[in-house]
């Protein structure tokens, strides 16, 4: 499945807001048919990393360094017109709030078809036909009738299916899903996760999944990058990261979540302190102010280094992390 060159390769990406390196040296790649999750808490830089891929950063933020390659093409430095050719075509993004992402005054079928008319030059009639096909594939019952409806007539889950249909209609090589199920009820989330699993097999796009939910990562992803303070602190195959996390942050974060087979009403593992706000990070390792293993070594930035095959962690004390939890 993971044959050939990566679809997306981000190398040493730096995103700055007001001189602060909010994303600081992020490198990752995703191959065709694979799902790479980026997981972390608010302010860790996961969404900015995702937004920078398609040039969708908020006005205050800018890519200050690094490279983002989609296939053979460098995306950083492309002008708006060139990016518009990529967006919705070769690479697409879906967001947390499907209803906010859709145009409330446009029939949903036309919103699914739009990219075909824009990027493939199809006629309205031909695009409409393909859009209805795609709506059926993402599990929308009675798609021809639904196509004529407006977003307010559809449920949140159905709107997210519409978003997915419009994101996939041009057969992109890359799909970015930014918290795609966070706003949905849990039984609807299960449906959308199942849909993404099916589509990944059928469409073969590389998927970047942004989430704060370790359960969603475990459910859907092949590989995961854990971010803290704008940097990747650990990265590797999901099985390895969940079974043997080597960075103290990953280890503690997993330990704070109540287990469905754990003891009840007992004190849960905690991480001391709070997530520092962007720009208020300590020098060296950015987790060191909350890390029980921190010592003098941590004043220097730990590099992301291999701890096992395909598994990397950025910590001077990976060998002692196991004692934590």
């Amino acid at each position: 499945m993971s044959a050939g060159a990566p679809v997306l390769a981000i190398d040493d990406l730096v995103v700055e807001i007001a001189g602060n390196r909010i994303v600081d040296g992020v490198s990752l790649s995703v191959e065709r048919g694979r799902i790479r999750a980026i997981v972390g808490e608010s302010g860790c830089g996961k969404s900015l990393t995702a937004l920078s891929i398609l040039g969708l950063l908020p006005r205050a933020a800018k890519v200050a360094a690094g490279s983002i390659r989609l296939g053979a093409r460098e995306l950083t430095g492309l002008d708006e017109a060139a990016l518009a050719q990529v967006r919705g075509n070769e690479a697409t993004i879906i967001f947390q709030e499907p209803i906010a992402s859709l145009n409330p005054l446009m029939r949903v079928g036309a919103q699914v078809a739009e990219a075909l008319i824009l990027h493939r030059g199809l006629t309205m009639a031909a695009a409409r036909e393909q859009a209805i096909d795609m709506m059926a594939r993402v599990g929308i019952p009675d798609p021809a009738r639904r196509a004529m409806q407006y977003p307010f007539e559809l449920s949140g889950g159905m709107c997210q299916r519409i978003m997915i249909a419009s994101a996939l209609i041009c057969r992109p090589s890359l799909l970015i899903a930014d918290e795609p199920t966070t706003a949905l009820d849990v039984t609807i989330q299960a449906q959308i996760l199942e849909l993404m699993r099916t589509l990944r097999r059928e469409v073969g796009a590389a998927i970047v999944l942004i989430t704060h939910d370790m359960g969603v990562v475990a459910d859907l992803a092949d590989d995961v990058c854990v971010m803290y303070g704008g940097r990747i602190v650990e990265s590797g195959p999901v099985d390895a990261i969940f079974a043997a996390p080597r960075h103290p942050y990953t280890r503690l974060l997993l330990a704070t979540i109540p287990k469905l087979d754990g003891a009840r009403k007992t004190a849960l593992r905690t991480i001391e302190g709070m997530v520092p706000s962007a720009g208020a990070w300590p020098d060296g390792c950015r987790f060191r102010t909350r890390c029980p293993l921190a010592d003098g070594d941590c004043a220097r930035v730990p590099p992301l280094s291999a701890v096992a095959a395909g598994h990397e962690a950025a910590c001077w004390h990976v060998d002692r992390a196991e004692a934590l939890a």
Partner: protein
């Protein structure tokens, strides 16, 4: 045995919709016949998806919503229709903590003033308030130095501690916790959950705990009600409910939570429901779950099942999974 601290009997909260132009109007049965008991020192969780009535039930308990019918008894006393001074007096005993601490605190009021506000309303002298604020800050694990700060100087986790401190100000016996950790970062959630568990143990508080996060519910609650479209699908002790859920909706809901364990997640059987939650404006006739139920039969559309004892120790509202000859 003494009476449970909180008793809710066949509670109904219906909302009449006003007719707009070209609209039919109608009645939303947000809560449609819910009963439960909550003992002092225990936690009862209300779980379910949007529109299930979990928040409306909680709001009816604290008097933010008016019950259409049924009864709410606190400490054996009927408080269903308490209003005015009567309701204000109840605020000493029953307090609520909401999901978003930033919205629950006045941004221009110091932390100390926020925490002292219930005492000021209750007419405490200034000196007593100050002493109590110091006690409360310590109780919820906040440094005394934060007293004069504004909420904006605090993190989300600290703000939620302030809200909890304010709720504790008048030594209540029941706390309604409406998604108290949902807005917090994952690394902060366990700190606040630990605090809640500790406070209950030390102060003997009862919690009515509302959450959509079932792993949190399992950790903190003694009992839970699984709600669907304003009715109870299943209720029971946490262990029974999580180990052997009987109602097909409880089973689907539990199997839908993604476990933070890739191997277990791959190997478990997932029940994926088809379709959407029905609109509370036009609920199905018969069993509320009938439109999405994987095991429904003809009679499910004809009549609404009532709660009946199950083999696993829960009570479920299902014709097929619970013997309806043992009504509870």
């Amino acid at each position: 045995m003494t009476a449970p601290l909180l008793q809710v009997r066949d509670l109904k909260v219906h909302f009449k919709l006003r007719r707009g132009v070209g609209e039919k109007g109608g009645v939303v049965k947000a809560v449609d016949g819910i009963s439960f008991d909550l003992e002092a020192g225990k936690t009862l969780a209300l779980v379910g998806e949007s529109g299930c009535g979990k928040s409306t039930t909680a709001y009816a308990v604290i008097g933010m919503e008016r019950a259409t019918s049924g009864a709410i008894l606190f400490d054996g006393r009927d408080i269903t229709h308490s209003e005015g001074a009567d309701r204000a007096a109840l605020a000493r005993d029953i307090q609520i903590v909401f999901q978003d601490p930033s919205a629950a605190l006045d941004p221009k009021m110091s932390i100390a003033d926020s925490i002292a506000e219930p005492m000021a309303i209750a007419g405490w002298p200034r000196g007593d308030r100050k002493k109590r604020v110091a006690e409360l800050l310590d109780r919820v694990g906040l440094p005394a130095t934060l007293a004069d700060r504004l909420p904006s100087a605090l993190s989300g986790g600290q703000r939620q501690r302030v809200v909890i401190a304010r709720a504790l100000a008048l030594s209540p016996r029941l706390l309604v916790l409406d998604e108290p950790v949902s807005a917090l970062d994952v690394s902060i959630r366990s700190q606040v959950l630990n605090l809640l568990i500790e406070l209950q143990r030390d102060l003997g508080l009862a919690y009515l705990f509302i959450s959509h996060d079932l792993s949190v519910v399992r950790h903190i609650a003694d009992e839970a009600l699984v709600l669907y479209l304003g009715t109870v699908a299943e209720r029971g002790p946490i262990d029974a409910l999580f180990e052997n859920p009987v109602h097909p909706y409880s089973q689907a809901l539990l199997s839908a939570i993604p476990l933070p364990d890739p191997r277990a997640q791959r190997e478990r059987t997932k029940i994926i429901l088809t379709g959407d939650l029905p609109s509370p404006l036009s609920p199905p006739s018969g069993c509320p779950f009938v439109t999405r139920c994987p095991i429904k039969v003809e009679r499910c559309a004809a009549a609404r099942p009532s709660l009946a004892q199950t083999m696993s120790g829960t009570a479920a509202a299902c014709f097929l999974r619970a013997g309806e000859h043992v009504p509870v």
